[in-house]
């Protein structure tokens, strides 16, 4: 799509508006993706914090309530606060030590950060384009206006000479 170069100055206002609409749509798509990424990142960061809290020495043998369903809790006790079950995807869970689990989530967060930066760059670029197109639309409108007013003047002149 972007490999195709279009000379914006040669497009009429309608075409320019269509191009701008397409750009705005893409922009929206990327903004949504960015939001989804930062939400996912938030979840992973939360996991890291939880592991850090639970694995603290004073929390060994700590009592807690375990959710058996969304509305039913069972009293429990942390037997081993150094081992965690980590969801590695597609329904598989793996036992990891606190450090390994934190590393696992940290890697995910780093990856998401990298992707966020990429998307932010794309958004910046697209916004720039969108602004340029908007400026072109304005110029095209001015040009059209000038042409029309000239025609009007011409017609008025003709009317007065006749």
């Amino acid at each position: 799509m972007s490999s195709q170069k279009i000379d914006l100055t040669k497009l009429n206002p309608e075409q320019l508006t269509a191009v701008k609409q397409q750009f705005d749509q893409e922009l929206q798509h990327f903004t949504q993706s960015l939001q989804a990424l930062s939400m996912a990142k938030g979840k992973f960061v939360e996991c890291i914090d939880d592991i850090k809290t639970v694995s603290q020495a004073e929390n060994k043998g700590q009592k807690l309530l375990v959710p058996a369903s969304a509305s039913l809790y069972i009293p429990g006790k942390i037997v081993d606060n150094k081992k965690f079950m980590v969801d590695i995807g597609t329904g598989y869970y793996v036992e990891k030590s606190a450090d390994a689990a934190i590393l696992f989530y940290q890697k995910k967060v780093d990856k998401l950060n990298k992707e966020s930066v990429q998307i932010q760059d794309i958004i910046k670029e697209k916004t720039q384009y969108s602004l340029t197109i908007e400026a072109q639309i304005r110029q095209a409108a001015i040009r059209q206006h000038e042409v029309m007013s000239k025609q009007q003047q011409q017609q008025q002149k003709e009317a007065t000479t006749a």
Binding site: S69, M85, I88, G89, T90, Y92, Y93, V94, E95, F104
Partner: protein, 114 residues
């Protein structure tokens, strides 16, 4: 002319469906790849569990590995099949588009004569 146009639109929506399916497969492929990488880093004695319904059931590591590998294979063949479908639909679309352009040109050429 309008019949051909309807056919064109129909083909277009079919192509879109294939593309959505292809994207879904890609997400599945990526997720399974990540799981596979995780499995590769596991120690032999590390227990693996599978979430079934609301319960974690212990599974053999080798079984889990085999499962994910099989799934990866399956997804890859699905992707190939899907891409073949997409290519086929694109060719079909191209044909109909050419016909449409031809008809359109013929109509505009015949237009001024009338």
């Amino acid at each position: 002319m309008s019949e051909l146009g309807a056919k064109y639109q129909h083909l277009q929506s079919e192509l879109e469906e294939f593309i959505v399916a292809r994207q879904k497969l890609e997400t599945q492929l990526q997720e399974n790849k990540i799981v596979n990488e995780e499995f590769d880093q596991l120690k032999e004695e590390t227990p693996v569990y599978k979430l079934t319904g609301n319960v974690l059931l212990p599974v053999e590591q080798s079984e889990a590995r085999g499962n994910v590998e099989k799934r990866l294979e399956f997804i890859e063949t699905e992707i190939k099949r899907c891409e073949k479908n997409i290519r086929g639909k694109q060719e079909e679309l191209e044909q109909v588009r050419n016909e449409l352009v031809k008809l359109n040109n013929a109509a505009t050429a015949a237009g001024p004569d009338r």
